[in-house]
């Protein structure tokens, strides 16, 4: 760990792990059953109708279309949960960061540590999701395993901008709005459940401007084995821009918030 991220940031990860230790069973159980239920009900149940009426989506059965897209939508949700209320709590309510910054830890350690932690969380979620996909026969190639880091990167593209956003919040009043107006609409309309090409033209543009559309396309292409290198590179590049830009603005914003 210390070789990949600075020692101070590793301490922030350890703090999160110590808190997580108390709730990991419940958390991982949810991470297992949520995709199970979604894939069973929508992939198999709704999918049987879709397959009968139009022969699946883009030449594959609906379940194969749905599941990998849902993987990227799910890591987005994980990022959104981890990077809003818990972080605001550590700034404002429990003042965990204030305690950390009285030690040799720095704001940079906090930002890198939180990003590392949400990365670990998304890797857990995505790995369990992949196992569920494999159980349904959706994921069956070694390349499909690449959807795990791809979906994690896609989630990170939400995580760093959300940490930046949370750093500016005086209370949690706007956070519910972020979920209602950004995360949930993207989950529903961002390409996981039906192709973005079905959206009105203007909304297609909006969808492609968000990281999720690229994460969905990447994950789906890797699981179905249909992705070409240039296309994959484009999606990766968009996601990386979001991750880096979010991280670059999160650091000064959190510093301004915490150092008075």
């Amino acid at each position: 760990m210390a070789t990949v991220i600075p020692a101070g940031a590793a301490r922030v990860v350890e703090h999160n792990a110590l808190v997580f230790r108390r709730q990991w069973r419940g958390s991982l159980t949810v991470s297992f059953f949520t995709p199970l239920f979604f894939i069973a009900s929508m992939g198999l149940g709704l999918g049987s109708l879709v397959n009968r009426s139009s022969g699946g989506v883009g030449g594959v059965p609906y379940i194969d279309f749905l599941a990998p897209g849902l993987l990227a939508a799910t890591t987005m949700q994980t990022a959104a949960f981890e990077c809003t209320y818990p972080i605001l709590g550590k700034i404002l309510w429990d003042r965990i960061y204030e305690a950390m910054l009285a030690t040799p830890l720095k704001v940079r350690d906090v930002v890198i540590g939180e990003v590392a932690w949400v990365t670990l969380r998304m890797l857990m979620v995505a790995t369990i999701f992949w196992i569920v996909m494999a159980a349904f026969g959706v994921a069956h190639t070694p390349e499909s395993l690449l959807a795990i880091p791809a979906a994690t990167l896609s989630g990170l593209a939400f995580a760093t901008p959300l940490i930046a956003f949370t750093s500016t919040q005086k209370n949690d009043s706007v956070m519910g709005t972020v979920f209602r107006l950004v995360i949930t609409p993207l989950f529903l309309f961002g390409g996981a459940f039906f192709p973005i090409s079905r959206l009105p033209f203007v909304l297609q543009g909006v969808a492609w401007a968000t990281p999720l559309a690229h994460g969905v396309a990447l994950s789906r292409g890797l699981v179905l084995g249909t992705i070409a290198m240039p296309e994959a590179a484009l999606h990766l590049a968009v996601l990386l821009v979001y991750v880096v830009a979010g991280g670059v603005i999160a650091l000064p914003l959190l510093r301004r918030r915490l150092i008075k």
Binding site: L18, A99, A102, T103, P104, L105, K106, I259
Partner: protein, 311 residues
């Protein structure tokens, strides 16, 4: 690295501003190694702002500050590694147990898990919280939380301990326990810097103290020096019936070096309390009670800031 004779903390013209508000206005002080140094002052005087600058968590706005001979602006993390900090408001982790709070804090100082566990158990013993080590912090009383915060501040075996109102809100028994522990730390050579609103705490713990008022230092010295300079050997406390108070205005003039009329009592500063009592009576005044006591820091505080120590 500072040698033994150089001050552990040195501030010159130290200032802190929050926008337009001047919280600390160019103060000078030195704290020697092994000393117990106190900041007294009414609410809003700038004590916490000063402590936070010393703790290297709040940037200095003007003037100079060195801790261990180093500059907090460039060597903050290195200085913090040698500090123990008890902030004015607890910042304990309510989701973790008492013991976990200490162990994870040890990790922040790069102390191994095994060593962190060892120190945690030792410190829980030290602050008498061993029986509560597996409890969630949320379930502790306010006084227990404060003791845990003190234990946490000691996890890195600091050379300098900063305590911002360490015993506010504690019952007398818990306060005496904290005083005893701080006294032991001092004996071990730990330098203590504390703020307090309790004059008995300041008198018990501090070798030297400064009184702050409106962002400035208004007096400095040992408790004894301050009492000698700003108070008198004896103080006569008089209580009058409520309806007799308005008549007091000038009737007490000349009876003592200084007369202070408070909401509930009148203080006469004098070198001879008994003589003052006699003089009061000879003027025909009949106080309900008359108490002669020694001058204290409370009197110093009142004289300098016009306010009681505990508002």
């Amino acid at each position: 690295m500072a040698s033994d004779s150089t001050p552990l903390i040195s501030a010159r013209g130290l200032g802190k501003r929050f926008g337009e508000l001047v919280a600390v206005d160019g103060i000078d002080f030195d704290v020697a190694r092994g000393e117990a140094f106190g900041f007294l002052g009414p609410n809003g005087a700038g004590k916490t702002s000063t402590m936070r600058m010393i703790a290297c968590v709040s940037p200095v706005t003007s003037g100079s500050l060195t801790i261990f001979g180093e500059n907090p602006a460039t060597r903050g993390a290195e200085i913090r590694a040698r500090l123990g900090v008890v902030p004015q408001a607890d910042t304990l982790d309510l989701e973790l147990t008492v013991r976990e709070n200490l162990i994870i804090f040890a990790r922040y100082f790069d102390i191994s898990w095994a060593e962190g566990r060892r120190r945690a158990d030792e410190l829980l013993e030290f602050v008498q919280l061993k029986e509560r080590s597996k409890d969630k912090v949320d379930d502790l009383s306010g006084g227990m939380k404060r003791r845990l915060t003190i234990a946490r501040a000691l996890i890195n075996e600091p050379d300098l301990l900063l305590l911002d109102e360490p015993t506010t809100g504690l019952d007398p028994q818990a306060r005496h326990l904290v005083w005893d522990r701080l006294y032991r730390l001092k004996q071990r050579g730990v330098t203590l810097v504390l703020t307090t609103h309790y004059m008995d705490e300041a008198e018990q713990l501090c070798d030297r103290l400064v009184v702050m008022d409106k962002a400035k230092i208004v007096a400095e010295g040992t408790p004894r020096e301050l009492i000698e300079k700003y108070s008198t050997k004896e103080v006569l406390e008089l209580r009058f019936p409520v309806d007799a108070r308005p008549m007091l205005d000038h009737t007490l003039d000349g009876l003592a070096d200084r007369v202070e009329v408070l909401a509930d009592r009148v203080l006469l500063y004098t070198s001879d309390g008994d003589a003052a009592v006699a003089a009061v009576h000879s003027r025909g005044l009949r106080p309900e009670t008359a108490l002669i006591r020694r001058g204290t820091l409370e009197d110093v505080f009142l004289r300098l800031t016009g306010r009681s120590l505990v508002d």
